[in-house]
Symmetry: C2
């Protein structure tokens, strides 16, 4: 089989990570007649409930990884922090999509910003920070306010400090170092939007419309489509997303988060970050698109023709976080399509499920 | 738990039957955060690929049935030919939805027609046939052409003979007896349509729009929505479907097949048959409805609020039968949402998957 021949139905897709994204990928794979095998160290992984094939082992367990690779036809993942050694070990045995490069780029904010800049996609001004002196130099160049971030393992607002005054630099540096750091100019954005885009091995690229995202406590709360942005901003966002997957020689679905800047800004849009996987802000696609992001990812990694991203209705996706899940099923009113992750324990801040509110006129939160 | 309290997320739904309907029910159950346990005698059942919980045993194996009942919170089925003793055995241990009565009614054409007639829903004129003399008497009353059918286990055109001349009666009777038989008036229908309807234990009822069905070799080939029928015919069909589930005190999704008669006929519609389960002619709902028939069935049997049957676009569903599956994935053009059943062997006449063609103007086959 060449890399571009479609994987036949009945093939086994290996998925690293057993959270809700792995679970929804497995459900979509089943709709295409594929079998799935979930690999996750957590024995209570929600994705284990939707397939008979699983491996419970550490991502560093080479014996388990070798057995997993032997049991599957293609490998993908639901999270960007797959260890580089794990990715390398698996990619030597079976096709790994997306590949090692998108992982390396997205695991490191500095590498990501360097890549995006080289690809011609706008990002906030940034400087690597190696020590406190370097932080002061970077602050002098970038100005205040600015955001100091660890280059690795940051998510949901973790691993970052906003500096509004110069005298906050020392404390922030102390809190985040000795990890490698990057200082970014604070972006006075008016909105956050995101684009989910797919590319297959044959080079076909398809993007979904931008979603407008609302974060609460640094966690995505709501994605609304269509986004209330100018048509040319939407086109720019989609074009940037397409540029990124093409420049990465990417195979699969990728999420791109953007800041929308005020009118008159030098750049109308800046990329905040990219995620080499299906994306929380793309969950709306399952309720209103002919092909949703999960099926699109499976199509892409199986070298199938990419599906139709046409949107059939307006939609707003709400994450159900922690106890919010308890309101179901009673709160399931008209026009609501739920997706619940089957997690046993509703811890604070934990994503337990989401609902898509579908209709011609979606109420905005 | 009273019968009307919603079953909590994480509950286990037991499904009798491991074919594509059981598989799609399990996928829908997962979207509601439910676990599933599939019971099927065939070790190669396609539904076994979408859950870690299964029982491979005969439907008459009481030890296996008892173990299955103990492992689940509610029981449903994907096929109407569940043996009555099996249904009774399980219903004594856990809630069985739909219950024993819809099974008994739908397993026997004569009981079905008696029930429908009592409920005030029109069916073709019919007479039970006990012997050859009775067949001749029935033919004299009903006239020619007429259709002689076994009362039990008929599907996809099996177990029936159309009589166009009186001298065909003896051969047809010999071929179908000694099974109990029923003679039905031949219905000169112009179209076949169907309605999928749901009812939950609280008595809420919701129907989908009628689909227009095209059969080839007695197997459903295409369902198109909207059906090309008069609005009042659509309303009549939906009303009849709602009458049926209410009269049966039904819990779950039920499919009702209708014949549409030529203008000027005494009845514009006659019911052909009912099926106490999700229905092939309702597969279009998964591509274009906020809530599809599979999620609706799971909601109903779990005493959840019924979902929204709103249709977001025109659609045509094509069954992929036998070798037709081989054209995929290459033939997956724009606007097509596939659902493949993961069956290993594409035998002639076997339903291997289906596609939904979605768009504002669907080409009719």
């Amino acid at each position: 089989m060449t890399d571009n021949a479609p994987l036949p139905q009945g093939s086994v897709i290996g998925i690293l990570g057993g959270g809700q994204l792995g679970r929804m990928l497995a459900l979509a794979a089943a709709r295409l007649g594929m079998k799935t095998h979930i690999y996750c160290p957590d024995p209570d992984s929600p994705a284990f409930d939707v397939t008979p094939r699983k491996t419970v082992a550490a991502y560093e367990d080479e014996a388990a990884l070798a057995q997993f690779a032997a049991a599957v036809d293609v490998i993908t993942y639901e999270f960007e922090n797959v260890p580089a050694a794990t990715a390398q070990f698996l990619a030597a045995r079976k096709p790994l999509h997306p590949g090692a490069r998108p992982l390396a780029v997205s695991q490191d904010r500095l590498a990501e910003k360097d890549f995006l800049t080289q690809a011609g996609v706008g990002v906030a001004t940034y400087r690597p920070v190696h020590d406190l002196v370097g932080l002061h130099t970077a602050l002098a160049e970038i100005g205040l306010p600015a955001v100091l971030k660890t280059t690795r393992m940051g998510y949901d607002g973790k691993g970052q400090r906003t500096l509004r005054q110069a005298d906050e630099a020392e404390t922030a540096f102390a809190e985040l170092s000795p990890k490698p750091l990057v200082l970014e100019a604070f972006v006075p954005f008016t909105k956050e939007i995101s684009v989910v885009v797919a590319r297959n091995a044959a080079g076909a690229v398809k993007a979904y419309e931008p979603a407008e995202n609302l974060h609460v406590n640094h966690i995505l709360k709501t994605s609304t489509v269509p986004a209330a942005i100018a048509p040319e901003t939407a086109l720019l966002a989609v074009a940037a997303a397409e540029t990124i997957v093409t420049a990465l020689d990417y195979v699969g679905v990728l999420g791109v988060e953007f800041f929308v800047l005020p009118e008159g800004a030098q750049h109308p849009l800046l990329v905040n970050e990219i995620a080499p996987r299906v994306h929380n802000s793309g969950h709306w696609t399952e309720a209103v698109c002919v092909t949703d992001q999960f099926e699109q990812h499976i199509r892409a990694i199986c070298s199938w023709p990419l599906g139709d991203t046409t949107r059939l209705a307006d939609v707003a996706m709400d994450n159900l976080i922690g106890d919010e899940i308890a309101a179901l099923p009673e709160s399931l009113g008209t026009g609501i399509r739920p997706q619940l992750y089957g997690k046993a324990e509703a811890r604070p801040g934990r994503k337990m499920g989401h609902i898509n509110r579908v209709g011609p006129a979606i109420a905005r939160n």
